[in-house]
Amino acid sequence: MAKAPDAKKRGKARPGSTEGGLSQEQLLRGYRDMLLIRRFEEKAGQLYGMGLIGGFCHLYIGQEAVVVGIQMALGEGDQVITSYRDHGHMLATGMQARGVMAELTGRKDGYSRGKGGSMHMFSKERNFFGGHGIVGAQVSLGNGLAFSNWYRQTDRVCVTYFGDGAANQGQVFESFNLAALLKLPCVFVIENNKYGMGTSVDRATASRDLSKNGTPWHIPSAQVDGMDVEAVHEAAAAAVAHCRAGKGPYLLEVKTYRYRGHSMSDPGRYRTREEVQKMRTERDCIEGARHKLEGLGVEEAAIKQIDDEVKRIVQEAADFAQASPEPDAAELYTDVLLEV
């Protein structure tokens, strides 16, 4: 089983780069993107509390390094598909904060014109393929995205994200076999945040190492610290290169953590406050990146500038999402096969 390449063994770091192989400029970018997701999600939580967002809303706070590190290893035209916990993935692919927020508030200018909500967004332009509410459903769909890359003879790669809970769905294993059999350019990413709703990983699976779940089909894999954007990026770069070279699928198990409840109505009795607090204070990906930037001598003013920019984008998105009108009831009859 291939392990994520160790940065120290890869020879000298590039000038201006940190240990994990990101240049200072890239790290700044990663910091910005993670912060954007964090602030966006905090704002979404607030709007939910105010009753402006309804139904299901699964926040990504704590897991930001996963999508940001992976997205930095992707190129234009690579596809992304995920579950209902999708806000971070969408922002990472470059979808507009205002369009995502307006979908959360169920408005006309949302990515799904208000018809999908938090769990169901899509952007052909940014190669983001949803936004799926049925646990595990996106995994076999991702194989199809990867298949069409092969079919059209492009060198594009699909990243299929799913949770530790979803990893127990039957179609995940079927998809592993199919992807390995057809050598599909697919990076499977298990976002192991330790819980599927209120069930901890060790209570849900007999597998003690999820990165080995593809072993019967010889899918190379790595286990990655998902609280460190550089580590995620480095492992993702190796995985993507493997797929792009036509060597078949790759599996990443990213160890991460969600700070908030499963969705907005989660009393959180399955874990202790201390456990959450410990991750927040000791492992936070944004704090970690900020610390590294400071170590590299990045001026406080430059970081402050990013903080301000992000704040502005999120505020603008929230204003936009409240100003945008609700869709007309007649939207029910658009994009549906045949109505009666």
Binding site: G133, N168, P327
Partner: protein, 320 residues
């Protein structure tokens, strides 16, 4: 009688049946924590994790194993949380559970209850709002129950657990907090016996699940206008109470079937067709448009069949 919610009534039914019969057990995701809606709260404390058992997110494997356990004579109650998620296990239910008794010459009995909550609930969008009862009514071998009241959620669930054939048990997510009088102890509601919600001589309205309450509201308004509604809550779609429905429709000469599910190929069509075959009553159907459920309130509301629409249809049947 005790006053309790629709949710608590089902919990009481399960607890009573588990006390009565040690072969009754329940399985599903997050049951140990009381279930996602709290339908199992406190049960693991009383019955232990062997009988209120947590499962990984593997619907097909959960339901398939339950069919096997039922073939061995235990009586699993399988929690699927949302009828939408149960679609991951349709093969186990439709090809395996529903066929075993007939296909194996009467030897393969499957005393299984599959709980599949249905319906629109708090802006849940297209993959968490469906009412799929007609799918299962179409399958020979399955019983389909859709309780509308706390009392029925107790009595029908107890009957479902005692039934030797597979029962698709469809509670409505929006009804969990509904309160009502529930008989204590041994309260069994038989399958195929409808409930007359109110008696009237002008229009027969047939409904089930949450939509019964919408129809009751319409009937109340119509009563004020001098239109008497004979409102029938079907309770179970298979078997269904043809006797009560046909008698009523023949007497009033007007049948309106109303459900939350999509009207096209809904179970209302079956009732309307049966009534048309056996009586000279005029028939009408009301159900959702053939469109998925949207997230934004205006789009979500556009698929609801409200009391005003029910009343308007009844009026037009009366020529008013």
């Amino acid at each position: 009688m005790a006053r309790m919610t629709y949710l608590a009534a089902a919990r009481a039914a399960l607890a009573e049946e588990m006390r009565r019969d040690p072969l009754v057990w329940a399985v599903g995701e997050d049951l140990g924590r009381g279930g996602v809606f709290g339908q199992y709260a406190g049960l693991v404390e009383e019955f232990g994790p062997e009988r209120i058992s947590d499962a990984p997110i593997s619907e097909a494997a959960i339901l398939g194993a339950s069919v096997g356990a039922a073939l061995m004579g235990t009586r699993p109650v399988v929690e699927m949380r949302f009828s939408d998620f149960a679609l991951c296990a349709v093969d186990e239910l439709v090809n395996q559970a529903a066929k075993a008794r007939f296909m194996f010459g009467g030897q393969g009995r499957v005393p299984l209850v599959v709980r599949e909550p249905i319906g629109m609930w708090r802006s849940s969008a297209a993959q968490h709002s469906q009412s799929l009862e007609a799918w299962y009514a179409h399958i020979p071998g399955l019983v389909v129950a859709c309780p509308a009241t706390p009392a029925d959620n107790k009595g029908l669930l107890k009957s479902a657990i005692r039934c030797d054939d597979p029962v698709v048990y469809m509670e409505h997510k929006n009804l969990w907090p509904l309160e009502g009088e529930v008989p204590e102890g041994e309260h069994l509601v038989p399958f195929g016996v409808a409930r007359r919600v109110r008696a009237g001589g002008d229009v027969t309205i047939v409904s089930w699940s949450q939509q019964v309450h919408v129809c009751a509201e319409a009937a109340e308004a119509l009563a004020g206008e001098g239109i008497g509604v004979d409102l029938i809550d079907l309770r179970t779609l298979w078997p269904w109470d043809r006797v009560m429905v046909l008698e009523s429709a023949a007497r009033t000469g007007r049948l309106l079937v109303c459900h939350e599910a999509v009207a096209v190929a809904g179970f209302g069509a079956e009732i309307a067709a049966t009534v048309a075959e056996h009586t000279s009553a005029k028939v009408r159907r009301l159900g959702a448009p053939r469109a998925p459920v949207g997230y934004a309130p205006p789009v979500e509301d556009a698929v609801r069949v409200g009391a005003a629409a029910v009343a308007a249809t009844a009026r037009s049947m009366m020529g008013r």
